[in-house]
Symmetry: C2
Amino acid sequence: MTYLIDGLQYANFSEKVFRQMREGGVDAVHVTVAYHETMPELIGNLCQWNRWFEQFSDLIVRATSAADVRAAKDSGRTAILFGLQTAHPIADDIGLIEILHQLGIRIMQLSYNNQSLLATGCYEDEDPGLTRFGKQAVAEMNRVGLVVDMSHSADRSTLEAIEASTRPITISHANPAWWHPAKRNKSDEVLSALTDAGGFLGFSVYPHHLKDGSACTLDSFCGMIAEAASRYGAQNLGIGTDLCQDQPDSIVEWMRVGRWSKVIDYGEGSASNAGFPPMPSWFEDNRHFGNIRDGLLAAGLAAGDVDGIMGNNWLRFFEESFGPAPAT
Amino acid sequence: MTYLIDGLQYANFSEKVFRQMREGGVDAVHVTVAYHETMPELIGNLCQWNRWFEQFSDLIVRATSAADVRAAKDSGRTAILFGLQTAHPIADDIGLIEILHQLGIRIMQLSYNNQSLLATGCYEDEDPGLTRFGKQAVAEMNRVGLVVDMSHSADRSTLEAIEASTRPITISHANPAWWHPAKRNKSDEVLSALTDAGGFLGFSVYPHHLKDGSACTLDSFCGMIAEAASRYGAQNLGIGTDLCQDQPDSIVEWMRVGRWSKVIDYGEGSASNAGFPPMPSWFEDNRHFGNIRDGLLAAGLAAGDVDGIMGNNWLRFFEESFGPAPAT
């Protein structure tokens, strides 16, 4: 059985997008349910997802485990797994980590571009590493089975999270800086440390993370993945598209600025390119995963490695990561 | 296998109380996790319970299903099931009903003494029945598997909830008014309608609900249960002690007054008897369920009926009530 799993999407979700997931044969998607939201706002977003699960019960189903993903595939539906891009909903309350898990959240970023109460984001000038609360939070996340995601974190914080975590962590959506040196892409040192510790990298298709941006070729993207597989091993690699399909540009502004700044921060963009960049022609929506699969085979990866990268590796990672830590 | 289950406690929970549950052989307890709390305050209470589950993992375990209760018994621990005595945490948001279920809440009262957004409480002068929101909420509770509890509701609202609900509801802690005509006890009409529809009654040991109060005899209490079994059938009856062990009197004031009144309301008490009344000598804590079992046998109930009332009936009710409604 081969699974097709996307490790990160924040589309403007709708019946159209859910139908495209089915058309594309997508078995599971990790979706972002909050950026800068407070806990009550997060709960409001979860209410919206519950409505969608009820309205579109023939297309999507809530999932909190690898077993749920398997059951979703068996029933011809796409499993939806929840994650947070910031730790904002827990504020400074370690008890809320288990509450998040009980609400079905399975992945949480410790910081998002900026300094958080837990760790440093990749746009800060200084990175003092995991905070006192951050270290406690990582241990608690390990205990309950909430995966640490460092996609938007700075290098030192990321290396310290890899070291502090007793369970493999993830960078769910980013690419190697040796291919495209964007601030959001990751150094070889970080990616080696991540994968050496069993951690998981999802390759992003978001144009700011791609060499040549929206003009990036499928060959270039898949060649990069083949090189990453030779450096880090294929077993801890997957796809995390960062698909933001159908979102208005106000959303990328919300992602970047939240409530923390009264002036615009362009993040990966610029004044002349402030909105969402156009996706590459070979990956515009959930129906295009076949292009990536074909590209990986054309790049010379073995069929088993391609199956792993397209989803089987994520499934194994979910299996090992989402339950409570084994008793010691 | 016979189970010992208590359908309602709001003790000042502590290691001492949890150890007494084990000493008493209590397999499961439905505990109140909120009265007048808002959603964030409820979540804070759930955090406290998570801490207790971690600290006292040899004594208690979180449970959300009959299967969890069985597993708890198999592991020599007491299963803790969560319920709310008011609908206050959902405010006027129907989406929060499923969120409550996802947080592990399995039972919710529609009103508590006063008028709520959903139904009328038993201390109001007027009872206009289920509100527009209340009717929608009952349907949603039926859908997700959150049990309607009318213990503190007024008669018309209760009868309308029984009628509106497509799944059996409960009065988890009250006694028949024909035995002791307290405002919180229930009319024969209500109890007949409840049990005719498969609904469940838990008998309370809270002194204000007992004939002769704290001086009530075990014979009188168990004779009342035997009479109820002959009127309503034994299969929908159980125990819901309403045990408030070790709570300071400030808590009964909170239960009664919450934030809705600046003047004291004595509820079932009085100015001269404002605090928690002393429990009857034959039921002071979780170690005393054996007295009730013995009393029921002495009252002439068949052994199988006694097993049912002491816990097996609640277990069956949990089994049928806590999952999503079967597809229609």
